[in-house]
């Protein structure tokens, strides 16, 4: 008896982008019906590899075989014809189009939209993934959007389903739902290539794991047979020390007081804030958890002063009502703000680091003298941030866009922390940052709080919030739950809040 060939086999895949080697002789095989994990840090080359497998990118070297036969995938349509489906990390959906139109676009062949809608309704019912074909995507939650991606893959009867970090945007409960669906898909004999850096998920779901580091395969193993710590070490290369986070002895005075803050969203697709109240005391880290798009952007804009509140008394910094004040007035009271998007919001891509330092520090850091910019002062500030936060860069003062994500994030966080603010508000401090840089940033946030500042962290990463928060609250549909002590708080109860359980039903939704 001969052994059947693997479903898909990649041999010596190399992908170069200029001088960057994104994939360096990556070999990987997935057997029929196997659930295979592709593990690695951000920038390890996971996404590049699956894009090659899905026909979106062409390898510089190496070959792909499908059921023992060498294939060349020139486009996603060819990959789909073989039976490869892909659920993207950043969804490949069209907000203004309906669910059915979105699905029709991913199906090859000229099936008319009404017939797609009928088939879609059947498949989504069969798999317990309810979807309304006629709804526009922008009305849907993130979990529902992912459902569209999964259903449209299933409608093509895939043999191999690729999922790129599918749980990074889901609540714990939605994640459970996804795992249930995947178990069903697997039971039908479909192989799954599961990309993640969440080790527990991989250990639970997958039979085989291939670990990538700096574009190379460092190990292929059975993730159930090794510990999560071992996997992490293989992924990162060195052990990452856990954040030092001593219990808070005694919180100081209230530095940030938010009282019944409500605001309509300025953007048609945004979320309105509904009567948000919170306080952050000196010495503590308050974490705000929540699935993306529940009002985090709006909350940050109102707290930082990018968007004025309806009345001054709704936002109080150190006893001063600042709801109507701009960002500089708030900075002068000791506030510091780091928005979620590092490139384009926290830093201007084409500006040098010193110019970016000036942009956020011109009112407070002494970079401006008698109306003239003191370039030397700004430059030495850059040097200080570089040294304190281990920002790795080529020249002394490069453009912001020349830095890698992790290094730029260290710069924009460090830029504010070194000002020794009395209040720091930061959104997604370690989004898409490698583990080493993330550990450094988290430690800096905790240390800043313990040094007497009030720190508010808005994040979608629950692990991160549990690691650094003293108290936690959850934002859902523009409302904020009361903050609870993070120690002894169960993940499940936070997860339920993130899914909306425990919040009063929305007037808008009831209508």
């Amino acid at each position: 008896m001969t052994v059947p060939p693997p479903l898909v086999s990649a041999q010596g895949i190399v992908k170069r982008f200029g001088s960057l080697l994104a994939n360096d002789h990556v070999s990987l095989t997935v057997a029929e019906g196997e659930t295979h994990a592709l593990l690695g840090e951000n920038g390890a080359g996971k996404s590049t590899f699956v894009k090659i497998l899905y026909g979106l990118l062409q390898p510089s070297e190496g070959t792909l075989s499908w059921r023992g036969e060498e294939v060349r995938l020139r486009s996603p349509a060819e990959a789909r014809r073989l039976g490869i489906g892909m659920v993207f990390q950043h969804f490949s959906l069209f907000d203004a189009l309906t669910v059915a139109e979105n699905v029709a676009l991913a199906l090859d062949g000229a099936e008319p939209v009404p017939s797609v809608a009928r088939r879609l309704a059947e498949v989504s019912r069969a798999y317990g993934l309810p979807l309304e074909p006629a709804r526009e995507v922008w009305r849907l939650s993130v979990g529902e959007r992912q459902r569209i991606e999964i259903v449209r893959c299933l409608m093509q009867n895939p043999k191999l389903l690729i999922l790129d970090e599918p749980t990074s945007v889901l609540t714990p409960q939605e994640t459970e739902g996804l795992f249930g669906t995947l178990a069903r898909i697997k039971a039908e004999g479909c192989a799954i290539l599961y990309i993640s850096h969440k080790l527990e998920e991989v250990r639970r779901l997958c039979e085989t794991a291939t670990i990538l580091r700096h574009g190379k395969v460092v190990e292929t193993c059975d993730p159930r047979a090794v510990s999560a710590g071992m996997l992490a070490q293989m992924m990162v290369g060195v052990g990452i020390p856990p954040t030092r986070h001593d219990p808070l002895e005694q919180a100081g005075p209230v530095r940030l007081d938010v009282r019944s803050l409500s605001a309509p969203s300025p953007d048609a697709h945004g979320t309105s804030l509904k009567s948000i109240s919170l306080d952050v005391r000196a010495g503590e880290v308050l974490g705000v958890a929540g699935v993306a798009g529940n009002g985090q952007d709006e909350l940050f804009a109102l707290l930082s002063g990018e968007m004025p509140a309806a009345s001054a008394e709704t936002v109080i910094i150190d006893g001063v009502p600042v709801g109507r004040a701009g960002i500089n007035a708030r900075r002068k009271l000791g506030g510091a703000f780091v928005p979620e998007e590092r490139l384009g919001h926290a830093a201007a891509p084409r500006f040098r680091l010193s110019e970016n330092a000036l942009a956020s520090g011109h009112a407070t850091n002494g970079f401006v003298r008698a109306g003239f910019v003191d370039r030397g002062a700004a430059l030495s500030w850059v040097d200080r941030v570089t040294k304190a936060f281990d920002v790795r860069k080529g020249p002394r003062d490069p453009e912001a866009k020349a830095l890698s994500g992790g290094n730029l994030q260290k710069f924009v966080v460090g830029r504010e922390i070194l000002r020794k603010p009395r209040l720091l508000i930061v959104a997604q401090p370690t989004w898409g940052v490698d583990a080493g840089a993330a550990a450094l940033i988290r430690q800096a946030l905790v240390d800043l709080a313990r040094g007497g500042a009030a720190v508010l962290v808005i994040s979608q990463d629950l692990d991160e919030l549990f690691e650094i928060s003293d108290r936690m609250a959850v934002i859902f549909h523009g409302r904020l739950s009361p903050a609870q002590d993070a120690r002894g708080l169960a993940r499940e109860s936070v997860g339920l809040l993130m899914g909306g359980a425990g919040f009063a039903p929305d007037a808008a939704e009831a209508a």
Partner: protein, 305 residues
């Protein structure tokens, strides 16, 4: 012909070039490209259409030449914005200025030349209807073509799969690319279609509206067509309403001036623009929740590495 019929007839004549140009531009913008070169493409259509019609003595060949001229102009724009991922606004403005200049050179030998306006095409029976018959069904072929074009574009965009793909490119070029659609090729075709429509609209001016060539004869109609697309919130039938609103007020204010209404003529001449702006503001303020502009409009697409 009664006064009413005459007014209705001139309104249709004034609105038709706007409609043709706007519907073409609507397709371009739905694919995610903002081509501000309308004025340049239109006037090149006017100049080339007239020149070729004079040289060959055949209006049909002139029309074909006008369409080709508009497409050739749009091809320059496509090379800059798709090929080199240049800024669309700057490229479009440059195209407008370039077109105005080049059309002057091409048209120079034909200043003063004259042709008879294109004959009207009376639809039997229908054109004998009282009052509206002559105005609606005794028109030149362009008018019928503009109606067919509007219907065709609506049908294409909202009822066919290629139309869905084109709208998808305009919504999110990254997603369309991820699904394997050739975004740049689709946008190229859309730009060429828009250029062809602009050329056709231009030829209407020099072959029908005022059957002679004079430099700068488009007189800002390309810009109005651009405004109409926004006014129409990227929907073909609303573009028709917009073109006729604008054309209608242009003609009515002329008649009002002729009738001696005591309002300064400059103000009257500004009226169509004013009404367009007011209508635009009303539409925008009423818009709730849903977005209307294609989300990727004006952003260059560079295939991901």
């Amino acid at each position: 012909m009664t006064m009413f019929e005459a007014i209705l007839l001139t309104i249709i004549t004034a609105s038709t070039p706007l409609l043709i140009a706007a519907v073409g531009q609507l397709v371009v913008e739905r694919s995610g490209v903002l081509n501000l070169g309308m004025e340049g493409m239109m006037i090149m259509g006017a100049a080339c259409g007239f020149a070729v019609a004079i040289l060959t003595g055949n209006s049909a060949i002139g029309i074909v030449a006008a369409i080709i001229a508009g497409m050739a102009m749009s091809l320059i724009f496509a090379a800059l914005t798709l090929g080199l991922a240049a800024n669309q606004v700057a490229s479009g403005l440059a195209l407008s200025i370039f077109g105005l200049g080049l059309s002057g050179v091409i048209g120079a030998p034909f200043v003063g030349a004259k042709r008879d306006a294109m004959p009207r095409l009376d639809l039997p029976v229908l054109s004998d209807l009282p009052i509206i018959g002559k105005a609606l069904f005794g028109q030149d072929p362009y008018v019928y073509a503009s109606f067919a074009l509007t219907f065709g574009v609506w049908w294409f965009l909202f009822r066919t799969r290629p139309g869905l793909v084109l709208r998808a490119c305009g919504e999110s070029h990254a997603s369309a690319h991820a699904l394997g659609y050739p975004v740049l090729k689709i946008r190229l075709l859309a730009i060429l279609f828009g250029g062809g429509c602009a050329g056709l609209a231009g030829s209407y001016l020099s072959l029908v509206y005022t059957p002679f060539w004079s430099p700068g004869m488009t007189a800002g109609r390309g810009w109005i067509a651009l405004a109409i697309v926004v006014f129409a919130s990227w929907l073909p039938w609303r573009a028709m309403a917009g073109a006729y609103l604008f054309g209608g007020i242009t003609i009515l204010q002329l008649h009002a001036q002729g009738a001696g209404v005591r309002i300064p003529s400059q103000l009257m001449a500004a009226l169509p623009y004013l009404v367009t702006i007011i209508a635009l503001v009303i539409i925008m303020s009423r818009r709730t929740g849903q977005q209307t502009a294609p989300a990727s409009l004006g952003t260059p697409f560079v295939p991901d590495r």
